[in-house]
Amino acid sequence: MSALCRDCLARHEAPPQGASNRARGARCPACGGARLVAHPELDDLNIAHIDCDAFYASVEKRDRPELRDQPVIVGGGRRGVVAAACYVARLYGIRSAMPMFRALKACPDAVVIRPDMAKYQHAGHQIRDLMRELTPLVEPLSIDEAFLDLTGTEALHGGSPARSLARLVKRIEEELGLTASIGLSYNKFLAKIASDLDKPRGFAVIGRAEAAEFLADQPVRIVWGVGQALGAALARDGLRTVGDLRAREEIDLVARYGAIGRRLSRFARGIDERRVEPNAPTKSLSAETTFEQDIAASEALLARLWPLCEKVSARLKKAELAGISVTLKLKTAGFRQLTRSRRLATPTQMAEVLYRAAKPLLEREADGRHFRLIGVGASDLSEGELADPPDLFDPEREHQARVESAIDAVRAKLGDAAIAKGRGFETAARPVRGPRRKC
């Protein structure tokens, strides 16, 4: 069995007494540190999932050390949801995606911080750069988590993938002041499960020999792709654990649940042949916002729609992509979500075109119902150079494209609030915090 000290990176052939998977209680003979990870397959596993711990909250705490021991929640105002909760806040039962009012009920003293996405993005990119020093096979899942395939990097980094990963996390801590947890296994499905086992500052390993046994008692919801609906369907059929799934033939699962049955069967056996794809193409880009108070009036909804169109447009332009399908998303006061789509004649990356497509969709839905959330997205993406081709009857469009790029240029220089179209003025001009005007 091999053991690795995550503090001094020393590797021990014969494990110290008491070392187990997570080596609780054992000490590193070299530095005396307690953070040993030991596993028989430690040197043979190449696929890792790295997930930062309470990422947004950690970035805020790093930048405001006085908050270190306080419960910190990053999220929207009273009506929004928790985007991230620090580990102190989690002691009160606060979890991400929890409605803010419930979080504040559980912990009225929590410090609530509005998300500063630009800051998190910057930190996320710094982390990604460090990951890419280890391997080109980095598949980002979100701003703060990624899969890494470290196959064949031993000679280059002078050590096993496990050691390279421990060193990476150490660098993230030392250079960026943030912590992350590692899941190491032989495929993506298990690596992702592993990274969640030992949070925060964790390092968990799931080897080939133990995978089946480990999975047997896990709830079916642990399988990627099993959500609420499928989970309930499986439960109705008496399939509650991964072990239950494993007891069924693949062909039966496919017959009963369709194509996903194959994945259920294979994942239940610890088989996942998906590769780590560094360039997983973006499928869609979207932006949404939850209102402070439910909105029914169509003009007020439209005023909220416009800045979202601008946001999606800015992201399309930055990613050099263009979308041909525009989707409007609304959530009613009763939490019913609805989406309406429209296909454009040609791909676009212009806010104006997104807005013009989404507007009639919104007007059709704005029938007096109250909504709590609005979002807009562009999908069916193609290369940016195909965006907004010249149109025989819309010479205006080229003019608008020039207006938009002028606005983009001003914003790049002076910030997003420096300039706004009259259409979004009502919301753009409103201070982010501070007293709200009555309309």
Binding site: L344, S382, E383, E385, L392, F393
Partner: protein
């Protein structure tokens, strides 16, 4: 109601009307066909409220009457019955069902009352003229491919049909465009069309119409008002609402001063475009044309850097230039040029280009270049 009819006659009549009906329908009566038996004829009517198709056929009427039945189901039943079968249609009981009998096959279908079927009251269509089937076919084929599918500019979702003076003669013109290409076809104005309003015929109507043309060699009657148009093919009547909108001033976007004139063998050009475009990316379909005295070099490349080039001989003595087009648009247009040579009139690499058949001036195409 009771009638007997030969399978082939019923199948053909049903085929004419059934495609007007949408497959997915929220209003039950609109899934039904109106079956009207009277005076030696069976008349069928189907509608989606915008487009109505009526057809009638001789039948042996036992007892006159009318009802409505699900059209797609009826069509499928008749299609599957053996060739040559005599089909009997009859009301069952108080008329809540219709029985379809042929040989040993018996079907009963639930009906909806005739009164619920949307009335097709007589409409006043003050302008009337006739077109030869070949003329109507050309009018549609030369323009239909350019119809826009964009919902926001609904007024481009059809063919704009209008009377206009071209040169010194009065013509009937059909124009379609999606903003990236425009197709214009004209023919001498038929008698009776003078003074007709400009109308936009919706895409679905155009497609239904096109299916009917190949079955006739008799003149097609056209009558219209500013809200409706009707085409009559013998016993088949197709009546459609028109798109309520203003077609843009298309003349404005047809360049008149393009002075770089390329003449090319249309078939060689089309085949070369088709070959080269195999390489271009699924989404852009771009081909680049490098035009020089004597030859066009077509080229395309994919995101993975696969490349293709092909040279096509041309008549051209202007300056060298490069221009890019969507290959699909070039193919759509060149497929409509039946003469030996095509004329391509260019200004520069960013301006609309005009294409036409050297030997046939009835159609003209405008094409927006792509950035390549």
């Amino acid at each position: 109601m009771k009638l007997t009819i030969e399978r082939a006659a019923l199948l053909k009549t049903l085929a004419h009307v059934q495609s007007a009906v949408e497959r997915r329908n929220t209003i039950p009566i609109l899934s039904n066909v109106l079956i009207d038996a009277g005076e030696g004829r069976l008349s069928l009517t189907a509608t989606d409220m915008d487009l109505t198709v009526v057809d009638s056929v001789p039948a042996e009427i036992g007892e006159p009457g009318a009802t409505t039945a699900p059209v797609h189901m009826l069509y499928d039943i008749v299609r599957k019955l053996p060739e040559g079968a005599q089909i009997e249609l009859s009301s069952v009981g108080d008329g809540g069902q219709i029985k379809v009998e042929a040989g040993r096959s018996v079907f009963t279908l639930v009906t909806l009352p005739r009164e619920d079927f949307p009335a097709t009251g007589e409409v006043d269509l003050p302008h009337a003229f006739t077109l030869q089937p070949g003329e109507l076919r050309n009018l549609i084929d030369r323009t239909r491919f350019a119809i826009s599918t964009e919902e926001t500019r609904y007024y481009l979702n059809g063919i704009y049909l209008h009377a206009v003076e071209s040169g010194d003669i009065d013509v009937l013109r059909a124009v379609a465009t999606d903003g990236h290409r425009l197709a214009r076809f004209e023919m001498p104005l038929p008698d009776g069309a003078a003074g007709m309003p400009g109308v936009i015929v919706p895409r679905k109507t155009v497609n239904e119409l096109r299916k009917l043309i190949d079955e006739t060699d008799e003149a097609v009657g056209v009558s219209l008002s500013d809200t409706r148009i009707r085409f009559s093919f013998g016993a088949t009547l197709l009546t459609s609402k028109l798109i309520d909108g203003t077609f843009p001033d298309y003349e404005r976007v047809i360049p008149s001063g393009n002075d770089r004139i390329v003449r090319v063998r249309c078939q060689s050009f089309r085949e070369a475009v088709d070959r080269v475009s195999t390489i271009s990316s699924e989404k852009s379909r771009a081909v680049k044309l490098k035009i020089a005295a004597g030859a066009i070099t077509l080229s395309a490349s994919s995101a993975e850097n696969d490349t293709a080039t092909e040279e096509v001989e041309i008549d051209y003595d202007g300056p060298d230039m490069e221009i890019g087009f969507n290959s699909r648009y070039l193919l759509d247009i060149t497929q409509q040029i039946e003469g030996e040579d095509a004329r391509i009139s260019l200004a520069d690499s960013a301006s609309p280009t005009v294409m036409s058949d050297v030997s046939d001036s009835s159609a003209l195409y405008v094409l927006m270049p792509m950035r390549v």
